[in-house]
């Protein structure tokens, strides 16, 4: 068995984080979350468990929506979407995310595209997974420069959703909304606590010697490298062929 690719760790971790969802939506250009959701769907199907529904926004293949671009948000508002992924140019230690820009608003430099649906979905999707491969103190900051959506809300604010986890290229964190703050759950293979601390602009809770992020077992890896890459290549052909060539090395 070949070495496990770092992105395969991410995909398998996402599948674990999604365990139990009935319907997960992923953004149009999110191949790793999509692959994780496809992996979970395949695992559940093999186990004869209730089906997992995956909606990929902007995809024709995986578009279950017929009411325009408002339907995703309506669907989430109805409680029909259990999990979603958000990223951000900045993510801070309280789970606040910034998709708008660095520096003083509105003259943000750099300016990022904008908040998209985050200021709604972060509130109403029960299991939001913050996903950003880049793990640096540029991205993971003490305090965001602009809050596209806050990580937590005061009591009395309607909120059925929020951050469940933060997954980066180096580590996996869970989110504790009572503190609020992140807890290091595991380090991906090849990364250590000192490195992660240095690369993280906010403080986080952690065990004395953190666990290593679980690598996919052989059955999972076979599924991932076979069926899942086939499915993925329908929607993300470039990503799938790149990952395939890198794992075939």
């Amino acid at each position: 068995m070949r070495e496990v690719h770092p992105r395969e760790i991410l995909i398998a971790t996402i599948a674990r984080l999604l365990d139990g969802v009935r319907h997960v939506a992923v953004g149009a250009s999110s191949p790793i979350p999509a692959a994780g959701a496809m992996l979970l769907r395949a695992q559940k199907k093999r186990a004869g468990a209730p089906p997992v529904r995956l909606s990929i926004l902007g995809s024709v293949e995986h578009n279950f929506f017929t009411n325009g671009s408002a339907e995703l948000f309506d669907c989430a508002g109805q409680g029909r979407i259990d999990a979603f992924f958000l990223g951000g140019g900045q993510i801070d230690g309280r789970g606040n995310i910034n998709l708008v820009g660095a520096g003083e608003y509105p003259g943000s430099t750099p300016r990022w595209p904008g908040s998209f649906g985050s200021a709604y979905l972060y509130f109403v999707v029960p299991r939001v997974i913050l996903f950003r491969e880049e793990h640096s103190s540029r991205v993971l900051v003490e305090t965001v420069d602009f809050t596209s959506a806050p990580g937590t809300s005061e009591d009395g604010v309607y909120r059925t959703g929020g951050p469940a986890a933060l997954l980066t290229g180096k580590a996996l964190f869970s989110f504790d909304k009572t503190r609020p703050g992140f807890t290091l759950e595991s380090l991906h293979p090849g990364h250590d606590l000192a490195e992660v601390k240095a690369a993280t602009g906010f403080g986080f809770a952690h065990a004395g010697s953190p666990k290593q992020t679980e690598a996919p077992d052989r059955a999972t890896l076979d599924l991932l490298r076979g069926q899942i890459m086939d499915e993925l290549s329908e929607t993300y052909p470039d990503f799938a062929s790149r990952l395939r060539s890198e794992t075939a090395a």
Binding site: A70, G107, F116
Partner: protein
């Protein structure tokens, strides 16, 4: 109806509703709008903007923009938009996608506002002095909720696969195009083709049809979303968008790109010239 003629409906200072890149952007109208030159435009992106928005900004026609995002997708940030934000030459009202839809829905329903969840505690809300927060009157107390005021664009502009000779436009499942038209005073549509049958005559086609009641003008513009794709018709020309993204990093590069044949061919192609058979809808 000719594209240039249609562009003349746009007057300085108007509020224009433009669709998201995958829904049907009338890229064919971009050059005629720039040539027409009505400036001081206020753009309302449903719910995000891309190439067309960047080009209108680059051409200096835009005073302000309300949007949930502006980007060129895989080709990265929108260069003319980003520079305008950096330099403060356009005003921006950052929103979030469902707030954009809520503003149109309020107008569609003839309501002054529409509530929406979320937003509380965000800087989006903090910078929007045109939005209001009230306590939900159905709660026992507390429970703040945001009210988004109705947005009534002067003109909506989009591209669709087909229209019939009565001015009915087939928009398929892209219902946000209907929402834009309902909310707007005028709606200008470019289409891939004009069909002979009445789109309302069969229940199958009627289901995806925006009735002519909401359509001001229709013009023929084959491949009118290019370099964007059109669902069910043709894919996005990513190489061309990358070419634009690279060129438009500087104002000079942008000007050269816009003057080049690639960008102008959509406006000057015989398909959209006034000498072609008239394709005016009944209305």
């Amino acid at each position: 109806m000719d594209l240039r003629e249609m562009a003349r409906r746009v007057e300085p200072g108007m509020l224009l509703a433009l669709p998201v890149d995958y829904a049907g952007v009338s890229m064919a109208m971009t050059k005629p709008l720039i040539e027409h030159g009505a400036g001081d435009l206020r753009l309302f992106c449903v719910p995000t903007g891309g190439l067309q928005v960047d080009q209108l900004i680059g051409a200096g026609l835009v005073r302000s923009i309300e949007t949930s995002a502006v980007s060129l997708g895989e080709a990265g940030g929108a260069p003319r938009f980003n520079q305008a934000i950096r330099e403060g030459t356009i005003a921006i009202r950052d929103a979030t996608c469902p707030a954009i839809h809520a503003g149109l829905m309020a107008a569609q329903k003839g309501n002054p506002f529409q509530p929406m969840r979320g937003l509380i505690g965000s800087d989006i809300l903090r910078f929007r002095d045109d939005w209001r927060v009230i306590d939900n009157p159905f709660a026992d107390g507390g429970d703040p909720i945001v009210l988004i005021p109705a947005v009534k664009p002067d003109i909506a502009i989009f591209h669709a696969p087909m229209a019939d000779r009565h001015g009915n436009v087939w928009i398929g499942r892209r219902r946000e195009l209907a929402a834009m038209a309902y909310a707007s005073a005028q709606t200008l549509v470019t289409v891939e083709r004009i069909v002979d049958e009445n789109l309302l005559a069969s229940e199958m086609s009627a289901a995806g049809t925006l009735p002519s009641l909401y359509v001001t003008d229709v013009a023929l513009a084959p491949r009118g979303a290019w370099p964007y794709g059109l669902w069910g018709e043709y894919p996005t020309d990513t190489a061309e968008i990358l070419r634009y993204a690279k060129a438009a990093r500087t104002p000079e590069g942008f000007a050269e790109y816009m003057a080049s044949s690639g960008a102008s061919s959509m406006a000057s192609s015989p398909a959209t010239s006034p000498s072609r058979p008239a394709l005016e809808p009944a209305q």
